[in-house]
Symmetry: C2
Subunit: 493 residues, 2 copies
């Protein structure tokens, strides 16, 4: 019993949009391109945040908060940075409203014009490095490892819930180091943290790599990334970690006294993941019945649905349900008992399927008599009758949740492997991109021209130069020019 | 040994500003009126957030996220609301930058003008009620109890770190109910939650009350508040909870099908506390040596400082320190061992005093020999030599932390009681406000005119009409007109 979702096979894009809305994850707001994250969607984001925040703290980072606004002149200080963001900046120009002269409307007060326009942060490197200038004097002040949870705004013309919105929520780490090596090490470490989070918590396998110059962050020397594959074979960039070199230190004159008595520019990194991860989570696992959530990020891991025809039956079931909950809660399992009498069991089954609750326990009068429960797994849509005389429910549930967590990861990994194709000719490249999709591993001559030409012809972009790739000489799939190794191409979100 | 703070008695205002900066809590940014919350300050705010968030969840609220921007026409829909916020609105008018014609600078692209200006939210009632219109159809959708953690912007002309900043962080709860009684109950409940948080966690006693019409939230029917007293005798509004009546439901046409088959306007509340609480926390307890933090909100509750002259001495001390930490950590005590050899013990003592760490344990070679430790309390600046053969350190520390938590609350309560004066004549009123400060409990005739006149003459405002006040007839302290009971006046932040 599905809640009227379109099928993935018929219209993947519509399926996604409908799922996001029907599962109460998010919706479009009255403000163009800005979303409302609904309570259920936000509770998943909160679980992501908690886990990531812990991982950042475990790797020695502290949180702080920097201003929402960036003076226009600051944004302009790093040339390629402003170049990269200029076309999508929301600009504050005034600071007051007033009544119109006829008193009929409220207008922007022309006399309250700012001397310098303020940009709503699209990312915070500039405002943070202008602050770091005062925080960093000596090698003793380094490394400086700060993270910020914040909202940012990029004025996108075509938006999609979670995947591309004008305002989104994210975290942005900004670190400063005494040496190039240490900064590179930090950049790689944070890419690894993101990969670990994606794989162990989201259950989404990722490819780690570096971006080509074309796809690099505006102001970075190198952009590391993790790339995931969605069920339609398209790639989704799930997180990036940038080695900034000394670019922002130069732009904001951030120098430190070295141990040896010299004066050096500071090395920087920045790294971020956003509510886009919600999009990745949804698209990686869900099916035509609704969301499939990894237990580690599911706000409700187990739902107990009573099957009853009378108040007495409900009461007896309620007792048993509490008995089960008392065993699950101390194990850290989040469990909900839905005893509402305003909705039928069938409606509830469909509802929790739609919302991706990993395990559903149904409890009826016959179960009470037999001391059984019916357990349904969301990911496989399979059911099992459990005899509570034989099975310890706490152990059963925790093992089942672990199994689901592992199983959806393995499924996604298998899908990615089946949809990663090594190609060696331009004809094959075009055919695979067009007919099969997925990741295409191919030789590339290393030039931006070729990269752009391929994008123009096929809409496929280079997702990354995978880390640890085999150094093999070959010929570029388009030009035939020499190549040092394969890169991953795909159509992408 | 203080870190060169001004004395409170000499310049309270300068003392506050310097303390905020020197204790690494916050600083002004390059953007007028916007602050940078530094890692140490933010770690205190995080502890506040965690506790409040738990209290909101325990009272049945869920978090969600609504857009940063509000269309100008939305803000204008509730007349008194826009009236209240119009003068401090940051307005986004454009969405793109471009290079100037001479290529020398980056300018706002005049062609990228928004059709309708967007206001950076000063508060979110309008954008949220426009959303609630779609979420609420029937009594089954009520109550709707949502909270949002967010940044908001109010273009203040005179700003002070934490107390009044153009951008600040806060939470805003927005609930919708089927009946007036339920909405009022919610409003009062959230005021109580704030009061409990202030008293039990911040150690700050508060007066609960309602605001006069003059001081009411723009768009509310009634504003409940908690008012705290700072060490200079000034009042600080620490949290507000608004009964919105049906005002926003009317403005956004939010109606629900009643159980009885009718169609009614929804009743609303909103409530918020902000980073202003950081200002209250700092000003309520701290002294000329620096911050005094309540243990329940201190990021570091205990610091262990080793006293050593050689690497061997440090090693022996380190062993003992870890032994102590192993006893404290399982009890949930957050403890730091500062073994840096770049700073002397005296410097560290002053540093942790400045940062308000509740307990400091000093450990030297003689302590190892005698199995003792020296424990210093931040709030009283007293020291005690503890013999570890006689005292169980875990129990000692947790009891001491409880005692500090309680003791700073009692001290603040005593201060407030000593600085609350009942006055019965205008002469006395003026004298007390001028010479003594604090809360002045006086009769007031209930008119806005009198309230404004008193403010004009003395700078004192009505902080609140205290809940549960004695209903006694009296004469207004200024006009002599009849009054139904006393209200609290004070100069305020």
């Amino acid at each position: 019993m599905s809640k009227g979702l379109p099928k993935r096979s018929e219209d993947y894009s519509l399926w996604y949009n409908e799922l996001v809305k029907k599962a109460d994850l998010a919706e479009n707001s009255a403000v163009r391109g800005c979303m409302v994250i609904k309570p259920y969607g936000y509770s998943i984001w909160e679980k992501m945040q908690q886990q990531l925040d812990q991982m950042f703290k475990d790797t020695g980072h502290s949180n702080a908060y920097f201003p929402l606004f960036i003076p226009k002149s600051y944004l302009s200080k790093e040339a390629s940075h402003v170049e990269g963001f200029a076309k999508e900046c929301a600009v504050v120009t005034h600071y007051r409203l007033k009544n119109s002269e006829d008193g009929k409307s409220v207008i922007v007060d022309p006399e309250a014009k700012l001397e310098e326009e303020l940009i709503v942060r699209p990312t915070s490197e500039t405002v943070i490095w202008s602050t770091y200038k005062n925080w960093i004097q000596s090698y003793r002040d380094l490394p400086l490892k700060v993270n910020q949870w914040a909202n940012v705004v990029r004025w996108e013309m075509r938006t999609r819930l979670f995947l591309r919105t004008a305002e989104f929520l994210w975290q942005e780490g900004h670190t400063a180091h005494a040496t190039r090596e240490e900064a590179v090490e930090e950049t790689v470490q944070m890419m690894d943290v993101y990969a670990q989070f994606a794989e162990e918590f989201m259950g989404v396998p990722v490819v780690k790599g570096v971006k080509t110059e074309n796809e690099r962050f505006a102001g970075a020397e190198e952009t590391y990334c993790i790339e995931a594959m969605m069920q339609d074979g398209k790639a989704l960039q799930a997180g990036t970690s940038h080695f900034l070199g000394q670019n922002f230190a130069k732009a904001f004159d951030v120098k430190f006294a070295t141990k040896e008595g010299g004066l050096d520019l500071v090395w920087g990194t920045s790294w971020g993941v956003s509510t886009r991860l919600m999009g990745a989570l949804i698209m990686a696992h869900s099916d035509d019945n609704g969301l499939v959530l990894p237990p580690k990020l599911a706000p409700i891991q187990v739902v107990i649905v009573p099957i009853f025809r009378s108040e007495e039956e409900l009461q007896a079931i309620e007792e048993k349900a509490h008995e089960i909950m008392d065993k699950l809660k101390p194990l850290g399992v989040s469990v909900k008992f839905d005893h509402r009498d305003t909705h039928k069991p069938g409606w509830k089954f469909a509802e929790y399927e739609l919302k991706g609750v990993p395990l559903r326990i149904a409890l009826g009068p016959r179960d009470l008599a037999n001391n059984t429960v019916e357990v349904a797994r969301r990911d496989t849509l399979t059911k099992e009758m459990i005899n509570l005389n034989e099975v310890e429910i706490g152990q059963y549930v925790t093992e089942m949740l672990d199994d689901i967590q592992n199983s959806i990861y393995q499924k996604a990994l298998k899908f990615r492997e089946e949809n990663t194709t090594e190609v060696n000719s331009w004809e094959e490249f075009q055919r695979v991109i067009k007919e099969k999709g997925g990741f295409v591993s191919a030789h590339w001559d290393g030039t931006s021209e070729t990269e752009e030409k391929i994008k123009e012809l096929t809409k496929a972009t280079i997702r990354c130069i995978p880390l640890g790739r085999v150094e093999e000489s070959g010929s570029c799939v388009l030009t035939g020019n020499p190549s040092k190794g394969r890169v991953f191409f795909a159509k992408a979100y």
